[in-house]
């Protein structure tokens, strides 16, 4: 009985009539955030209208900035999908940051060992595999701990972030440090043939296609395969799913592994497409921003990618805040925070409306 109810609730079609209303509320939240941020801008002695028009002009009407948004969006989209897939099964993956790092480390290890010996295309394929595998293993640790020892995966993925970052730091401070470098704790740069190729004459690397393809594939898997369907059933009520005969543990673990692989892939494209060397601070909270992106889009793959693109745009818009308006660089964090607060503040309204 219970299982039937769970399955039917997973099958229930989305409420289309509330979609438009929800978009309206999101827009309202966005305007509210911009208004409050405008007050901050005035407090710092700048004109908010000028600030906003400069931001839009220099972020969206400038090919360099658009390229910057896409470059930033690559690892964000992948790491956000890495949150979305486990979330469908009711798992919380706060470990995007660590999975990105470990993916980049694995790709870096493979890439820097082989890039001068093997053809570039081969190195790229091996780096993709290594990054994805490392991310999957990193998330898999949390998955196995959850399934065998009931260690909460939100906590363990969070803790594993620090371990991953310390592994990166350990490697770049000594064993992998560029011996011919300047003394800074960085590896040497990846050889040109092993880097992700750029698209046309722009700064955008092909990682963006990897992110887009991953989004479509995950959408397909989530919405159109029995795996995705079963994950949602498990996410709805794992006890009922178990009674209905679903292999719950296998499903949960597969969700973590796929998620980790996506984030690891994000680390790889960030390393081989943009950073080109391993560096302290190379993730710059990408994993946490990705968590917010997935949450913002309520874990629906296509929306998740769009949300990641939105947050990447806000990050790049921060350039304009300081170049044009002379505001401190981190001011953009206030803008991002306010947008998210506003969206969250609107949540309950939406839920009430649906209930009514």
């Amino acid at each position: 009985m219970g299982s039937i109810r769970v399955i039917s609730s997973a099958l229930r079609p989305p409420k289309l009539r509330s979609a438009g209303r929800e978009a309206g509320r999101l827009a309202l939240a966005f305007v509210g955030a911009l208004t409050v941020f405008g007050a901050f801008v005035i407090a710092k002695g700048a004109n908010p209208l000028t600030v906003y028009s400069d931001m839009v002009r220099s972020t969206f009407f400038n090919s360099n900035s658009v390229a910057g948004v896409l470059v930033k969006a690559c690892p964000l989209i992948l790491a956000a999908l890495a949150v979305a897939v486990p979330a469908r099964a009711g798992l919380v993956n706060v470990g995007g940051e660590g999975q990105i790092v470990i993916g980049a480390v694995a790709a870096g290890g493979v890439g820097l060992a082989l890039d001068t010996h093997v053809s570039g295309g081969m190195v790229i394929i091996l780096m993709l595999l290594a990054g994805a595998a490392a991310g999957a293993i990193w998330a898999g640790i949390a998955g196995v701990l959850r399934l065998t020892l009931r260690v909460n995966e939100a906590i363990s993925t969070l803790l594993l972030n620090y371990v991953a970052i310390d592994i990166l730091l350990y490697l770049i401070y000594q064993p992998w440090k560029d011996p011919h470098g300047s003394g800074q704790p960085v590896t040497r740069q990846l050889a040109v043939p092993a880097r992700l190729p750029l698209v046309g004459g722009t700064q955008v690397h092909v990682g963006i296609f990897i992110a887009i393809i991953a989004t479509l594939v995950i959408w397909f898997l989530m919405e159109r395969t029995s795996w995705g369907f079963r994950l949602r059933v498990v996410g709805g009520n794992s006890e009922a799913a178990r009674r209905a005969g679903l292999p719950v543990n296998k499903l949960l673990l597969s969700a973590m592994l796929v998620g980790g692989a996506l984030a690891g892939l994000g680390g790889m494209v960030h390393f081989a497409g943009a950073e080109l060397q391993l560096r302290a601070g190379m993730t710059a909270n990408l994993g946490y921003i990705a968590f917010l992106a997935s949450w913002l889009a309520r874990h629906k793959p296509i929306n998740v990618a769009i949300a990641a693109l939105l947050l990447a745009s806000i990050a790049v818009a921060g350039d304009s805040l300081q170049i044009n308006s002379g505001l401190p660089a981190a001011t953009v964090n206030v803008l991002m925070g306010l947008v998210l607060v506003a969206v969250m503040g609107g949540w309950e309204l939406r839920r009430k409306a649906v209930a009514a």
Partner: protein
């Protein structure tokens, strides 16, 4: 139905992936596209000058000094807009920010952090009509690109002078040096500081601690406390933000030697002296050279280093603290006069490494040039501590 449509989309994306791709290159290997040709001198015709800083522009240290320099450019060239960006990481973010500045009319860009070299080279390669100058790092290879150069002051010279003050002031013969990473600038400064101290006090040792960060006050406090507990009684540093260590040293009643900025107000009792940047005149001269169309082939179109020997150095020695004796001041004045001479250097041979053997290139009687000193990768005899190896 939808599945098939999605597969088609994936297929299209894969096809796109194959088409129109170019290799992901840094400076030197990329053929510039859409260049304005080599007829005009690089750097001309812009409406703005761009500056990027790795830290906050009000760090009371390195980045503030560079920011102050940018404001001097603003004052000197009222027709040019000065664009600044702080907290710019040393990666593709730097490339993007500099490109943004170019698209806003900047034809001259100052990349002011050591680690900004790679992005600076990329931007210079992509925009042959834009001059990119980088502060403190070294362009390797035989010739610098026509629109690129590095500049720095031989700041180890005033640091050497400060070492003299420290060597005379110490009672325990233990000096402390807090640094971030073993980059060549830091190694030069630490070595010169110890050599300066040794020149007046052969028993003086310098104990080094790295924080692995340009500005982490918590780690700075720990570093200072540990140096103090080892009996160090003069502390100096190579950090971007300097206030924390100076305040801790002053609170312990010990001596401070400053760096980057005048922090004597933070240590009214223990302040000895220090080395400060004064970038304004150099930045202004670089911009003037570029605007005159003379950048390519000029001294700035290379690894330009300037110090006491040329006179127009971008640093000043900080004011003296109350405890500095006339004898010390005289010793420092003599050394300063010597530094201006061609046959003297803080690193005049023989210079020994920590094991006591002479460092190649620093043999007895040799006066190494700036490039040799900048390539130094070892601590000299008298320094307590190891360079993390790679």
């Amino acid at each position: 139905m939808r599945a098939r449509r999605m597969m088609a989309a994936v297929g299209a994306a894969v096809a796109l992936l194959g088409a129109a791709c170019s290799s992901n290159t840094t400076a030197g290997t990329a053929a510039p596209t859409g260049s304005s040709g080599s007829t005009a001198a690089p750097g001309l015709g812009g409406t703005a000058v761009g500056f990027i800083f790795v830290g906050p522009k009000n760090d009371y240290g390195y980045n503030q000094a560079a920011y102050d320099g940018s404001q001097a450019v603003k004052a000197a060239f009222p027709n040019l807009k000065v664009l600044t960006a702080e907290n710019v990481p040393e990666d593709d973010n730097a490339t993007r920010v500099m490109n943004s500045m170019v698209s806003q009319g900047a034809k001259i860009i100052f990349a002011t952090s050591y680690g900004h070299l790679n992005p600076a080279e990329q931007v210079a390669a992509a925009h042959p009509d834009v001059v990119v100058v980088q502060q403190g790092n070294i362009i390797t290879g035989t010739v610098a690109p026509k629109n690129m150069g590095t500049y720095f002051g031989t700041v180890y010279e005033p640091v050497y002078l400060a070492g003299i003050a420290a060597g005379k002031a110490t009672k325990t013969n233990k000096l402390g040096y807090v640094y971030a990473f073993p980059i060549s600038q830091s190694i030069d400064n630490i070595d010169a500081f110890e050599l300066g101290a040794q020149s007046v006090n052969p028993a003086a040792k310098t104990v080094v601690v790295n924080t692995s960060a340009w500005c982490d006050p918590g780690k700075q406090t720990l570093a200072a406390n540990n140096l103090l507990s080892q009996g160090v009684d003069v502390i100096t540093q190579h950090q971007d933000c300097t206030a924390t260590i100076i305040k801790a040293t002053e609170a312990a009643g010990k001596y401070s030697v400053g760096y980057h900025a005048d922090a004597s107000a933070l240590a009214p009792k223990g302040w000895l002296t220090g080395s400060e940047w004064n970038w304004g005149p150099l930045y202004t001269d670089i911009v003037k050279t570029i605007l005159a169309g003379n950048f390519t082939g000029s001294k700035y179109n290379a690894n330009y280093r300037v110090g006491y020997k040329t006179g127009d150095n971008p640093f000043v020695q900080s004011k003296f603290g109350p405890s500095v004796t006339d004898e010390t001041k005289t010793l420092m004045a003599t050394a300063k006069a010597n530094l201006a001479k061609a046959d003297f250097s803080p690193f005049k041979g023989p210079v020994m490494d920590q094991s006591g053997s002479v460092i190649p290139g620093f043999e007895a009687g040799k006066v190494p040039d700036y490039a040799t000193i900048e390539n130094l990768t070892t601590f000299v005899q008298g320094i307590v501590g190891q360079i993390p190896k790679s």
